[in-house]
């Protein structure tokens, strides 16, 4: 009996959601045909006919994907040309970062602010020491960095550096001082009008021309400067949106407390403005993460760059789709997780917003009620 009710419900669901009109029914049948035509061959290629076991090209049977290629090159895809004996340093640095971030992700962990400040101040020197070497550790030139490791380094540094610059530019753009405002507007609009490629070209080809003789920057560092400045302009526009959403009364209230400009911004305006635009900021982070792939144009081997180098290796020619699928999945996992995180934050912020509004209303109700109670 219950099964029949389930069946009837399923039929009703299908009638409503799949076959409500003749046009809808045609669309459903068409999509099913498309799925039948695409999904089984794709699954067959990726899993059922694919080769997983083996060490070399000889183990590829050629019927489906040959994941042996990815397996054989996994070390390179993850660490680039980082010496195999030293890779524990990279692992250790990332493990430290995850360990330090865990308390921050914990909803009610004490002294979050102090941990975050400590992380920002103490982690970079530790990470640089571990990644680059020195003080007893063998030095690994940045030219040997690569793979997912390099992608994460570029994305991490880009995110951490572009955020404060972006906030400063946004404040500058809304500054009453005309020179400050003009400079910030010019920088933001100039950068937003050109592609990142040209900025990277500039960082790799033009920047050395502007430095005095004998001074030279590391190529990775130049790319990082380019990416951070480029995304700072986009960050500035997002933050500006948040600043515009802070009501005028907040500035007036801060002024009546005797706050100066920096106090007003730091204690009153920015906390509200930034909370408004957290989803936008995460969106910029996602875009930055994806655009780290562009560094392959100036000869750095990020995850995609190293995969591209590997697929053009004569020993493994013809396995480029496997390589690209692997790189694509790598990027997809990170970006999808970040976008879900952004949606989660958005939901939580909307919730706190509602609650705050309700308490204001309650407070108003209370003041309205107050005289009655006194009387």
């Amino acid at each position: 009996m219950e099964r029949r009710i389930g069946l009837v419900a399923a039929m009703a669901w299908a009638r409503e959601k799949l076959f409500s009109t003749p046009a809808n029914a045609a669309l459903t049948v068409g999509s099913l045909a498309l799925l039948y035509w695409c999904v089984p061959p794709a699954l067959d290629w990726m899993i059922f006919s694919a080769d997983f076991a083996g060490e070399s090209r000889a183990d590829c049977t050629g019927e489906g994907a040959c994941w042996v290629f990815v397996k054989a090159r996994l070390g390179q895809f993850l660490y680039g040309f980082y010496p195999e004996g030293e890779r524990w340093r990279v692992d250790l640095a990332f493990a430290l970062l995850v360990a330090a971030c865990l308390p921050l992700a914990w909803p009610r962990f004490p002294a979050k602010g102090k941990i975050a400040a400590l992380l920002l101040l103490a982690y970079p020197p530790v990470a640089i020491l571990l990644f680059h070497g020195g003080a007893g550790l063998a030095v690994v030139e940045t030219a040997r960095w690569g793979g997912l490791f390099l992608t994460l380094v570029i994305a991490g540094v880009g995110i951490v550096a572009s955020f404060p610059i972006g906030v400063a530019l946004a404040l500058g753009r809304r500054s009453p001082l005309p020179v400050v405002k003009a400079l910030c507007v010019a920088f933001i609009e100039l950068v937003r009008g050109v592609p990142l490629i040209t900025v990277l070209f500039m960082a790799s080809v033009m920047l050395p021309l502007f430095l005095p003789e004998g001074v030279s920057f590391d190529k990775l560092l130049r790319a990082l400067v380019g990416i951070a400045l480029f995304y700072a302009a986009y960050m500035a526009e997002v933050v500006r949106g948040g600043l515009q959403a802070v009501p005028r009364t907040q500035y007036e209230a801060a002024e009546s407390l005797g706050y100066g400009y920096w106090q007003t911004m730091r204690l009153v305006v920015l906390p509200q403005a930034l909370r408004h635009v957290i989803p936008g900021i995460v969106g910029i982070f996602i875009a930055l993460f994806k655009d780290t792939t562009l560094v392959l144009i100036i000869g750095l081997f990020d995850l995609l760059g190293i995969v591209q180098a590997a697929v053009s290796d004569p020993q493994w020619i013809g396995y480029n789709v496997e390589g690209y699928v692997f790189a694509g999945l790598g990027f997809w996992i990170f970006c999808f997780a970040l976008s879900r995180f952004s949606q989660f934050l958005e939901g939580r912020l909307a919730h706190t917003g509602r609650r705050a509004r309700r308490t204001t209303k309650e407070r108003q109700m209370a003041t309205l009620d107050a005289p009655l109670q006194v009387d």
Binding site: K17, G193, A254, K290
Partner: protein
């Protein structure tokens, strides 16, 4: 302290007034906001100027030492490289300036196609995402989630490699008669040039103008009499009918240049190069996913009460979409779509990765051959800035058309 009200004109006179005021009262001039503002700005401006001078000085010394002449004289020199595809005739004997122009045109060409195709794909997928059909909406969200979380660089490289993996001309895929898909690009038939075709184009323009006028007349008549005149079929009739009449009057010339396999390659017809197709598909699929999200958000931003109200006054579903939902949704859709068009245009610079001769590709070759890094990169940046500005000006104009007209 709030920025809106601090309307100090930081002029010298203000500063003098502050000085005067501070002399009269006992407060120090250092406490005057106007004075401080001037000091900060002077410091900042001189810092920027000093930095600029320092960089210029370094660049000047470096260029002198490397023996590179500055200036844009190289533009007139002989380029000496050939370009794979070009909208205007070009050969290696022509100048760098002409080569850069070819690059600019190629960039605009692929960006124009990309904007149109990404809009079609994005709007289709965005409407599919809010479809009442469960399967269709899930498929559309699958497309969006899969494509927007992967770098556009990977899209471009992937599609270029897919095209390279297509069969060679001898085993070309032949989906329609006369259309061949091969690893050398897409080859399709083209009507042979005829004197009547320009006139047909003119007739088409006249037809469009006529249809617009007819629609205006119909709208006025509806306002006056309350009688509805169907505009769709007559409009379509004018737009298509006029060129057809011209064609028939010209003796109905119909000669196609149909591609056919000769030896190792096709002859006749015309083709899209594999680089062009790879870049176009890559940026279209990527940007389409973003536009789909924008369209979905726009449609969902229209309150459901509007749809119910429209149904209550007896509008058919198509009219509900056209007269009630879309005009309101467009207000939400247009501004973010503008920035997608801008980023698509900028992403077309990824052609350099797969060998499509766009502006960055040609500019890069020029840079490598002449060593004029400053000039080449400045040209690239200036051109992209101009393209970006033109697109935003046009889209702002369109946005004003669809924005709420407040009284």
């Amino acid at each position: 302290m709030q920025p809106e009200r601090r309307t100090y004109a930081f002029a010298v006179t203000e500063c003098m007034a502050a000085l005067e005021a501070s002399r009269k009262s006992d407060t120090s001039i250092l406490n005057s906001l106007a004075f401080r503002g001037v000091v900060y700005q002077v410091l900042l401006a001189s810092g920027v100027i000093l930095l600029g001078w320092y960089l210029y000085h370094n660049a000047h010394l470096n260029l002198e030492r490397q023996g590179i002449a500055t200036g844009f004289d190289f533009i007139g020199e002989r380029a000496g490289f050939s370009i794979g595809e070009s909208l205007i005739p070009f050969d290696s004997a022509q100048s760098y300036g002409r080569a850069l122009l070819v690059g600019i045109l190629n960039t605009l060409y692929v960006a124009a196609f990309g904007v149109v195709l990404a809009t079609i794909l994005g709007v289709t997928m965005g409407i599919a995402r809010v479809s009442s059909n469960w399967l269709i909406s899930k498929l559309a969200s699958g497309y969006v989630e899969a494509c927007r979380n992967v770098p556009v660089v990977l899209h471009v490289i992937f599609w270029a490699s897919v095209i390279r993996a297509l069969p060679p001309p001898r085993e070309a895929l032949n989906p329609f008669d006369g259309v061949f898909i091969t690893n050398r690009g897409v080859i399709y038939p083209l009507p042979v040039e005829n004197a009547i075709y320009p006139w047909m184009g003119l007739a088409l323009l006249v037809g469009i103008a006529g249809a617009v006028l007819f629609a205006r007349w119909a709208g006025r008549r509806r306002e006056l009499t309350g009688r509805n005149v169907s505009t769709f079929w007559p409009g379509l009739g004018i737009i298509l009918g006029l060129p057809l009449l011209v064609w028939l009057a010209g003796g109905a010339p119909l000669e196609w240049s149909v591609p056919a396999l000769r030896g190792f390659n096709f002859q006749g017809g015309t083709s899209l190069t594999p680089e062009f197709v790879g870049l176009l598909v890559g940026i279209t699929v990527y940007t389409g996913a973003f536009i789909a999200e924008i369209v979905r958000a726009g449609i969902q931003s229209v309150p459901h009460g509007q749809v119910e109200a429209a149904r209550a006054v007896g509008l058919r579903p198509g009219l509900v979409m056209r007269l009630v939902i879309l005009p309101q949704a467009l207000r939400v859709i247009v501004p973010p779509t503008t920035s997608q068009y801008l980023s698509l245009t900028k992403n077309s610079s990824l052609g350099v990765l797969i060998g499509y001769p766009d502006l960055v590709n040609v500019g890069n070759t020029t840079l490598n051959q002449t060593g004029q890094a400053l000039e080449a990169i400045s040209i690239m940046m200036a051109v992209y800035l101009m393209i970006s500005l033109s697109i935003s000006i046009f889209m702002n104009f369109y946005n004003r058309l669809v924005a709420i007209r407040e009284r």
